[in-house]
């Protein structure tokens, strides 16, 4: 938050048929392969992992048959997990299991976007909002029997910042901006200097954390499992001890990460057989309630296999891949304020009707324009012809939410997403306005004999390709000739950074649940590709957009009001809307759709719906499993 030019915080999403994102694209979710994964803030890795096609899915599971069938256990499915070390996990599959075993100071209850206390009993902030003092919940024990103390958190946070195994140190050092010192790494760079983190144990039950700058989403960041408590010294006296000779992790570390993780969560680790299954069982000394015996995950990567697994009632939650998904089988019974829809899906292949719900996730896919190269009338013509609603229906069978703002609905200022879009979207809300597109192009001097040529560059994704073809045909009528080009993801980013793209496709997933995490992408000075730290490739300036100044000013307002106070939030919210509107005017990003999370589950499972942070952040201790039929 502090320094927004930090490249390390980028989160581009690749929506290919093969990746998480894609899944999201496909609207999927719920889970398994990254399914809902998309919802997770820390899920960058999802984009690279896994399986093929736009599956979708869910946490399926194994009920039974051979696994002994303790009917108290949740039977779910997961995709390939990599580690159980909270600071090393970057994928949702691991995150899903880690969330059950470890607790943090704060938590996203059921994966919703607002946080509540978890291991923190209470907290206080200093007047300048830079110092947070947390009082820990009494009587919390680790699975090894030790009592939780403030020193455990100091150790855990130090690991997050300085462990050679940590892949999320920027969460605490940059995003949250906890005070620390750096030292030369001997190669001309700067690294974190061990033991200098601004986190202290005031007494056994009190932690004090100092930030470099006030930050509105401090508590939200602390809810990530990367910030989870592990027993002091669990993997070595100091984080540096975790690496043995030859750059390989020590035996103790490997044990912790694969076969003996210890946390304070509702479930104790039981087994994890690589590529096969993982299981956790209820922790008897948990401070809260655990209403089931445990959770078993079968690891299944293939969407079709997963589908069969669910249809055979081996899992309580089933997965429906896009190929098997029939939108007409959904009947929605009600919808809540945050856009979650509840109903049923069925009858499925096995004759049963499953419960259904969907929720928008903190995930936006967009078409970006290099404004230096693509003229404003052309960008507006794109916006006119784009009908987000039909795109979502045609390309994703409706498994996505049309996007008008860059900020996803769950975190849109004042929950005003839909109303603002309906009333003010300038390019036709759920409409394809080819006439207006032609008109704006003709006013700019283009015609049938004088077509404008534009290059569309996308990463390898069948869904983007389908959309591109629809757009290309429509734009033909507006005197625009669009060439579709595909590039590997890394090439796309590299060319973007060099300013060599015209129209390109990308997505963004939240680091923390507030609009500024998204809107930093359209802060004009940060879109200048001649700078090394550009985070999007718009080259937005007053030369090529009338609203560039408005966006710059609004971002200035945001930067000056980062404190977690109501008045600052008020100021930020107004500025967010200003930025969205500036983007509408100049069409830097043409927002296309938001990922949604879906879940299909059998009647015998009673489970709360999850929120915008995604199902992988949901803890299962309140779910109950009845008799399987």
């Amino acid at each position: 938050m502090t320094d927004r030019n930090n490249v390390s915080r980028r989160r581009f999403l690749q929506a290919t048929g093969g990746t998480a994102a894609a899944v999201a694209i496909a609207g999927c979710t719920g889970g398994n392969n990254e399914g809902e994964g998309n919802g997770t803030g820390d899920g960058t890795q999802e984009t690279t992992t896994t399986s093929g096609n736009e599956s979708t899915t869910t946490e399926g599971g194994d009920s039974g048959g051979d696994s002994g069938g303790n009917s108290n256990m949740l039977q779910l499915a997961n995709s390939t997990m990599t580690t159980l070390d909270p600071v090393a996990a970057t994928d949702t599959a691991s995150g899903r299991v880690i969330q059950q075993i470890f607790n943090s100071l704060m938590n996203y209850p059921n994966g919703e976007t607002s946080v509540e206390n978890q291991l923190a009993e209470s907290y206080e902030t200093s007047n300048d909002n830079k110092t947070y003092t947390f009082t820990l919940r009494e009587g919390v024990t680790f699975h090894n029997g030790d009592e939780l103390t403030a020193q455990d958190f100091v150790y855990s946070f130090e690991r997050l910042a300085g462990s050679p195994n940590s892949k999320r140190s920027y969460f605490i050092l940059d995003s949250l901006g906890v005070t620390h010192e750096t030292e030369d790494d001997g190669e001309g760079g700067q690294t974190y200097s061990a033991g200098t983190l601004g986190v202290e144990a005031v007494d056994d039950m009190t932690i004090e954390m100092t930030l470099e700058k006030a930050f509105h989403s401090t508590l939200e960041m602390l809810a990530y499992t990367s910030f989870a408590a592990i027993p002091q010294g669990a993997v070595g006296e100091t984080p540096a001890d975790e690496m043995g000779s030859g750059g390989n992790p020590t035996q103790a570390y490997n044990e912790f990460a694969t076969s003996a993780p210890v946390g304070t969560g509702p479930y104790e680790f039981s087994t994890w057989e690589q590529g096969t299954e993982a299981e956790v069982t209820a922790y008897s000394d948990y401070y809260g309630e655990v209403k089931n015996g445990g959770v078993h995950w079968q690891i299944i990567e293939d969407s079709q296999a997963l589908y069969n697994y669910g249809q055979n009632k081996n899992s309580d939650i089933v997965s429906i891949p896009s190929s098997q998904y029939d939108p007409s089988k959904i009947s929605i019974e009600n919808e809540d304020d945050s856009g979650r829809k509840f109903g049923t899906y069925g009858p499925m292949r096995n004759g049963t009707t499953a419960n259904y719900f969907s929720t928008p996730l903190l995930l936006t896919y967009y078409v970006g324009f290099n404004m230096e190269k693509v003229e404003k009338p052309v960008r507006q013509a794109f916006a006119y012809v784009m009908n987000q609603q039909t795109m979502v229906e045609q390309v994703f069978k409706g498994r996505g939410a049309p996007a008008y703002h860059l900020t996803p609905p769950p975190v849109y200022p004042n929950g005003n997403y839909k109303q603002h879009a309906e009333e003010s979207y300038p390019y036709g809300y759920n409409q394809s306005q080819v006439d207006q597109a032609r008109q704006v192009m003709e006013e700019a001097g283009y015609g049938p004999d004088n077509m404008y040529e534009v290059q569309w560059t996308q990463y390898d994704s069948t869904t983007w390709e389908e959309m591109a073809k629809i757009l290309r045909d429509q734009l033909q009528a507006a005197h625009i000739k669009m060439n579709i080009e595909k590039a590997p993801f890394s090439t796309l980013l590299q060319r973007g950074g060099n300013g060599n793209l015209e129209a390109y496709t990308l997505g963004w997933i939240a680091d923390w649940p507030e609009a500024d995490n998204f809107l930093q992408l359209i802060n004009p000075p940060q879109t200048d590709t001649s700078q090394a730290d550009a985070i999007s490739y718009l080259n937005w300036s007053s030369d090529n957009g009338d609203a560039a100044q408005q966006a710059t000013d609004a971002w200035e307002t945001v930067s000056n009001n980062l404190a977690p106070t109501d008045s600052a939030a008020q100021a930020r919210n107004e500025a967010y809307v200003q930025m969205e509107e500036a983007n509408w005017e100049d069409v830097g990003f043409l927002n296309v759709y938001h990922g949604i999370g879906e879940r299909f589950w059998y009647d015998w499972l009673d489970i709360e719906p999850y929120g915008g942070m995604g199902g992988s952040r949901q803890m299962y201790n309140n779910a109950t499993v009845g008799d399987r039929q």
């Binding site: 051979d66 590529g275 096969t276 990567e301 296999a305």
Partner: protein, 348 residues
């Protein structure tokens, strides 16, 4: 040159083949577009100081020739290294030990089905040429051969999952309850003695494991089954019409001795390379079938490692595959030298 000299020469020649194959592997994984730093950190963070630091830690910034020699030395000394991405820090050995048994179990049964169904059928057809049963067997062989693995697998999984609705017979609960997809439990493999000491528990487990692997093994074995049938038939026909069989018949060798002693052994010769060639089923050929049946075996591990840029794991697995392939080729030559005395004699 004696045939043992010939065999020895083949053995020595395999060394440069292994080195060449391993070198190509190195080139593909290190010179290709795989970026393990990006895979570990996530694609958005593939640049910047963190990624550079990680590349340095992983040794990717050293000169390529140095990396090459390190890699070759590690492989030759069987120092297979640790996984970087899939299961960060876990030795490749351990991962192979976890994933390989299922693939071997699957490969074992699919080769067995091919051998014990394909070859007898082929021989039967060859001994009774141009009869109705020959046509039935031959046609069956062509059909099995023609059905693509991935298609057959998907159909089979679907049908077995819904067998009760479709044909009124429930596969899942037949004999012993097993799920249609997911890997079989192979616990009995580690304690084979339990089959004797604790039969009530271990035999059902063995039965379950066989039942569970059967559909996948049939799919995987189907094409080679067809192959072996066709080639077996041709080989028998060819032998049965050769002069020495005629001679044997003329001097009154009984039909039984004729078939077993003169026809069978000679007809086996063209089948040897086909059977050893099936070793590839244990590796690449099983990836698709493993995926559809959610049997996460070695093929799955290799595929995951490849798409996630887990360089040491990909390299190690590839090296092992090369060794297996070269090994089976040597085995094939060995069988040749044993079965066919003509091999190795220099004609010139």
């Amino acid at each position: 040159m004696s045939r043992w000299q010939y065999f020895l020469r083949r053995l020595l020649l395999s060394i440069p083949v292994v080195i060449f194959g391993t070198t190509i592997t190195f080139m593909i994984i290190r010179l290709g577009p795989l970026d393990p730093a990006a895979a570990i950190l996530g694609p958005g963070q593939a640049s910047g100081p963190r990624a550079e630091e990680l590349r340095r830690q992983l040794g990717l910034t050293q000169p390529l020739w140095e990396q090459y020699f390190d890699f070759m030395l590690d492989m030759v000394t069987f120092n297979l290294g640790n996984s970087w991405v899939i299961s960060s820090g876990t030795p490749a050995y351990e991962l192979i030990l976890i994933y390989a048994p299922r693939t071997i179990w699957l490969g074992f049964w699919s080769v067995l089905i091919a051998l014990f169904v394909g070859i007898p059928l082929g021989f039967y057809a060859g001994l009774n040429p141009n009869t109705f049963s020959d046509y039935t067997a031959s046609f069956g062989g062509i059909v099995w051969r023609a059905m693509p693995n991935f298609w057959l697998a998907i159909i089979l999984v679907s049908v077995l999952s819904q067998s009760e609705q479709l044909i009124g017979w429930d596969w899942k609960t037949w004999l012993i309850t097993t799920p249609v997809v997911t890997p079989p439990r192979l616990g009995f493999m580690t304690e084979p003695l339990a089959l004797i000491t604790n039969p009530s528990e271990s035999w059902p487990q063995l039965l379950g494991a066989i039942k569970q692997i059967a559909p996948a093994a049939i799919v995987l074995g189907s094409s080679s089954m067809g192959n072996e049938m066709r080639i077996g038939r041709t080989a028998v026909l060819e032998t049965i019409n050769s002069n020495y069989v005629e001679t044997a018949k003329a001097k009154g060798v009984s039909n039984r001795t004729l078939v077993w002693k003169h026809v069978f052994r000679n007809a086996l010769i063209p089948l040897v390379p086909i059977i050893t060639g099936e070793a590839f089923l244990l590796i690449g050929g099983s990836v698709l079938v493993e995926t559809v049946f959610a049997i996460n075996g070695i093929g799955y591990l290799f595929f995951q490692a490849a798409i996630q840029g887990d360089l040491p794991l990909v390299g190690s697995l590839m090296f092992i595959f090369i060794l297996i392939l070269v090994g089976t080729n040597i085995l094939q030559d060995f069988l040749y030298t044993v079965i066919d005395p003509r091999v190795g004699y220099d004609e010139s």
